[in-house]
Point group: C2
Chain length 488, copies 2
């Protein structure tokens, strides 16, 4: 039997007298890029310390998945060789080296690849979102801007140009893919006889009928020549090294940007089955129906499958992901002598409910030093959702932080940071927000009613006057969200 | 930098061909009370094995918080002494020994105390819920049945008899409290001049106005003579050993059964403030208003506070709690060579959303052997809620299991058990349910649509035909809920 002892109430009374001014530091330590002020060991000062720690974790996480940094970490040129993981690609073995970049982070990723290749780059095509060209690229790279999240004619024009490049490739060429989130819309090439409007009408039909995203993806990959391994198939046996920044929970290669260089497990049969399940056969655009019927009858080649010989010369590498960001934050926390627990990188669910779990772990640590002892740093990643009921301003990370603030009210020396790695949480200019055991006390002093703000989905306007929004600016990357829970 | 490598899709394809019949066992091992069949190492057999393990954890957890067992574990008689924790109570030091039992588990707890005391028991009063007398008690113990969750006249009559007993006590007497959930309704004594109807009207007013449970408790403790340390104060300085079975998350002694033997941090001032906040002063029953006004003006003694001398002779001991149940399950898991993580005993939130977090941890273990390596056993405790939208049958644990089944569909060698420790989850005869990676495949074979059952809050009828309900029968205890996540 475990020892039995009287347990005192776990939550100390709310402390309404927190100072909001920082005390004088006793000492200042430089850790990495951040100055940490060491102050008297009081509750207030612990929270200041935790904010500084959280800021360090955030910085490390974002740096690890910065598109250009991630490329530099992944590939190195040593003399004539490009080194990637345990693979070496001697440039003299190839006639030409191309870049095929697509996604919201395509520009910085392609730029970094070009920087590594230097004079060895032959040509490149990059397709990114409007207003996402933040630097000039090598003159050999052509950059397109196109529609996102809804593809537009520019998506098709750009993709056609990329396909022209691929079709000129030979088995003696090397193609660097630079793939990130957003690629599904930015890169599209309707199959023969189909138009962009056909594809969009089909997607709309499926969405309205209640099809799953899995079903919609299966159908789209069978109506589009570049998705579902299409890019790899069009490259005439060229060697492909695809550098991938994952915005998909679980890093499924066939889902990120619709998997242009990855095997596609879905089939024409599955696509047809989904159409039949929702009774949409008669409503489909005629050309779409004709293609799916041919495909189902085995009269069209299916997308390339796992094990297909095409992929013998394709290396897909996740160079940035939620996992890598979380691990980078964990490494810093360890360096700062925190006990760490990377709980999961698959966290999903309604933001305000998932916040309850973060709070429950915080209480367990405060009360029992469990699941890890203080100083404790629990990290998780994923992407929550918000069911909008109010009319306020916020994002899923800010809403999570607000619900967490309510749930950890009064808990000493506890800080929770909810962060969107793209720097723009919901339709706001904040990346997320910070909740601590004193948040509600400080809010009461300013007559901010946390429950009312949460009910109105208005986390932004709750955290803004408290100074607890996280403002990173756009990070040009997106590996979903992170949560840091710190308790000392 | 962490090593970078291509990550394959994490979720293997759904396996629709699971056998539903158990294969022949290769070997049978007796572990504790349960026979574990060792079969061929296939996915199916792993799940059978995990079911057997989960059943062992469940049994250990429930045994640890069985009301009588918990008493026997907590107190021992050695010769003339009653030993409790590091305290010894020599019976010869006391003139008389009483039992004051209240709550849903009061009968088995009082019976166990009487068994330990044997001939030394002078008198006892026990107040429990209707139909909760499952055994005959010593003739010196008088048992009352009363209303729950709404107190009735029998609650008052029984409490009055208990108070008469307490008033006869002297500093040379020893009183054993036997306190469990339900005590707030079963034991009530309206303060002088108040009636039960006054108390109920006040509670109704507060509920309708949207007062928090914290505020309602503060007010009730100031209108009732036995709650909020009242039992201890009425005992004339007798020594009190209060054995407590906690049905409150966090085990706050002042909340369990309204804390009859615990200090009360709440004050008349707080009670008045809550009334004023909701503008209820004029609507209060006249006698209630008069009492709160007198109390607020300092003309009535407040409830006994932490540090009050009364409590020098009071020992409150949590003998059964969610934590102790979770720890007992963890100990068995360790014995069965699982790596264990007791994540939290404070889990709250909407059942179907909290289920997403359990699934996210399962995926992390399957993909990364993190936060703990396989064979992995993650345990948590708490109590979730269900927002009813459908018209089906279920309980919070069954609903959590159903949402978890959807979220771990296809995940290999993964089992999640959601269990209500009282054995009756919601208005059902099931204690909870079992979800595994093959649940949905088996459901599809039986044409059960998991999403539809979840939408209708009808988890009971989903799990019943699958044979995945957990049927323990009423356990006569209640320490909230437990979740076991097993991955091999």
């Amino acid at each position: 039997m475990p020892p039995r002892r009287p347990l005192l109430p776990s939550i100390p009374g709310r402390n309404k007298t927190f100072a909001t001014q920082a005390p004088e530091p006793k000492e200042i330590i430089e850790t990495g890029r951040l100055r940490v002020c060491v102050v008297e060991d009081t509750r207030m000062n612990q929270l200041l310390h935790l904010r500084a720690v959280a800021s360090q974790l955030q910085q490390a996480a974002l740096e690890a998945v910065d598109p250009a940094e991630a490329v530099y970490q992944a590939i190195t040129r040593v003399g004539d060789q490009i080194l990637i993981d345990e693979h070496a690609y001697p440039l003299r073995d190839f006639d030409r080296v191309f870049i095929a970049g697509v996604g919201k982070a395509a520009v910085p990723m392609a730029d970094a690849v070009a920087e590594v290749l230097r004079d060895q780059l032959s040509r490149g095509i990059v397709i990114t979102r409007y207003h996402h060209i933040d630097r000039s690229l090598a003159s050999s790279i052509r950059v397109y801007e196109a529609g996102h999240p809804v593809p537009d004619e520019n998506s098709v024009i750009a993709t056609r140009d990329l396909v022209d490049l691929l079709r000129q490739a030979t088995p003696r060429d090397l193609i660097f893919g630079a793939i990130s989130g957003g690629g599904s819309a930015l890169m599209t090439l309707p199959a023969e006889g189909l138009t962009l409007i056909d594809l969009q009408a089909t997607t709309q039909l499926l969405l309205r009928a209640g099809a799953t995203i899995h079903q919609i993806n299966a159908i789209r990959k069978h109506l589009d020549l570049i998705k579902g391994g299409g890019l790899a198939r069009l490259a005439n046996g060229a060697t492909i090294v695809s550098l991938i920044l994952s915005d998909v929970i679980g890093d499924d290669l066939s889902v990120i940007a619709s998997g242009p260089t990855a095997p596609d497990p879905s089939t024409f049969a599955e696509a047809w089955q989904a159409i039949a399940q929702f009774d949409l056969i008669d409503q489909l655009p005629a050309a779409v129906r004709a293609r799916l019927e041919l495909g189902r009858a085995g009269q069209l080649p299916d997308t390339p499958k796992p094990g297909d010989a095409i992929f013998d010369r394709v290396q897909n590498i996740i160079i940035g992901s939620n996992t890598l960001a979380a691990q980078a934050a964990e490494a810093i926390a360890k360096k700062l002598n925190f006990n760490t627990l990377l709980l999961s990188t698959y966290i999903q669910g309604e933001a305000r409910e998932v916040a309850q779990v973060a709070a429950a772990i915080a209480r367990e640590i405060v009360q029992f030093d469990r699941p890890i002892q203080r100083p404790a740093c629990v990290i998780w990643g994923g992407e929550t959702t918000v069911t909008l009921k109010g009319h306020g301003l916020g994002g899923r990370n800010q809403e999570l932080a607000l619900a967490a603030a309510l749930a950890i009210d009064g808990l000493p020396n506890t800080l929770i940071v909810a962060l969107g790695t793209d720097g723009t949480d919901g339709p706001t200019d904040a990346a997320g927000a910070i909740a601590s055991g004193d948040t509600l006390a400080r809010a009461r002093n300013m007559s901010l009613d946390a429950r009312a703000y949460l009910a109105d989905n208005d986390a932004y306007h709750f955290f803004q006057p408290l100074g607890d929004l996280i403002m990173t600016g756009p990070t040009n990357t997106n590996v979903n969200d992170l949560l840091f829970l710190l308790v000392v």
